[in-house]
Amino acid sequence: MSGPAHNKHGREPTRGEREPVSERRYGGPGGCGIYWPPGAEPDAEERPHREPQAPHPGPAPQTQASIREMGVPELPRPRSSIHCLTIVGQIEGHLVLPPQNKTTKYEHVLPQLVALEQDPSVEGLLVILNTVGGDVEAGLAIAEMIAGLSKPTVSLVLGGGHSIGVPIAVAADYSFIAETASMTIHPIRLNGLVIGVPQTWEYLEKMQDRVVDFVVRHSRISEEAFRDLMFRTGELARDIGTVLIGREAVERGIIDEVGGVAEAVAKLKELMAR
C-alpha cells in the first residue's frame, strides 16, 4: 500500500503523504471502516491497481509498516508445508465460557481443519495439546475432524491432555507425549439439573461410551483396560480415575511414543514422505 509514496520521494512517507484514508478502508461506504495496517490488509497482493515497487534502501515497506504499527519487525515468513493446531485451555462447547477461561473455540477450529484438508500446499498437521478438557461434544467434534483428515497428522501432548483432551490426542495418526505431561482419565459427569431416575444413568453411560469407543478405536488400549483406569479409586483427590504421566500413557497403549517437538516433526515428515 505504501508503494506509490515511496517511489515518488524515495523515503518514508509522512502521515499526510500516505494514501487517502478511503484507500485503506474496507467494507465500502457504510461499512464499519476497519483500518488495516499498510501491507497487512487482506489480498494486498491481489489488488489490481497496486504498482510495482521500486527497489530502495532499508527494510522492506512491510517491515517498516510493521515496526510503525506494532513496534516489532515482521519476520520473513516462508510458507510451511505443515500446519500446527494448538488445543489449549478449555475446549469451549455450546456455551460461551467466561473470559477468565482460555478457550479453544470449535467454531473456528473446525473450518480451519476444512481449509487444511482442501489446501494442496498443506501436507501435514501437528496438533499440540495443553488442555484441561471441556465440552464433550466440541471435543469429540474436533477429534473426529482430525481423525477424518486425509493428510498425515501427529499429536504432541505437553503439560496436560486431560479428559476430552484424550480423544483429541489419540485422533492423530501418531501421538507423542512429553516426559512430564499428564493425562487425567476419569468418568464424565452431568452438569445442571440431574433427575434421579434410571434413565439418567443410562444417558450418562451412553455419553461415556462415545468417549470410550473413540479412544479404543484410535489407540492400542482395550475397552476393559480404559474403563479400569477410569474407575480406579484412590489416585485422584476429588474424583475417581487415573493420572497417567508421560511414559505411563505409552505403556497403557493410549499414546504411541514419548517424545518432544523434534520427534513429532520428524515423524510427521516421515508420514508425509510416504
Binding site: 474496507y26 476497519i34 497487512a40 478449555q90 462447547g93 456455551l95 481449509a115 476419569h186
Partner: protein
C-alpha cells in the same frame, strides 16, 4: 452440555454473567462478530464466513484486535 474436565465447575463458570455480546461488522471481505475493547479498537469474538481460507487468516482469529478507521 457435558463439561468433561478435572477443573471444578465453579471455577470454569465463574463470571458467566460477564460474557460479551458483540456486534457484527464487515471487514476485509468477511463478516465478524466483534466487541469494542478501547477507543477505535475491536476484538474479534467470532468469524462468520463460509470460506475455509478465512479461518487460516491470523487477523480473523478469535481474540485478535482490529483497529477501526476514522469514521
Amino acid at each position: 452440555m457435558i463439561l468433561y474436565t478435572p477443573l471444578p465447575l465453579e471455577r470454569v463458570l465463574e463470571g458467566w454473567d460477564r460474557v460479551a455480546a458483540g456486534v457484527e461488522v464487515e471487514a476485509g471481505g468477511a463478516r465478524l462478530l466483534v466487541e469494542a475493547c478501547g477507543p477505535g479498537l475491536a476484538r474479534v469474538l467470532r468469524l462468520l464466513s463460509t470460506d475455509p481460507r478465512d479461518y487460516l487468516r491470523p487477523e480473523f482469529s478469535p481474540g485478535a484486535v482490529l483497529r477501526l478507521g476514522p469514521g
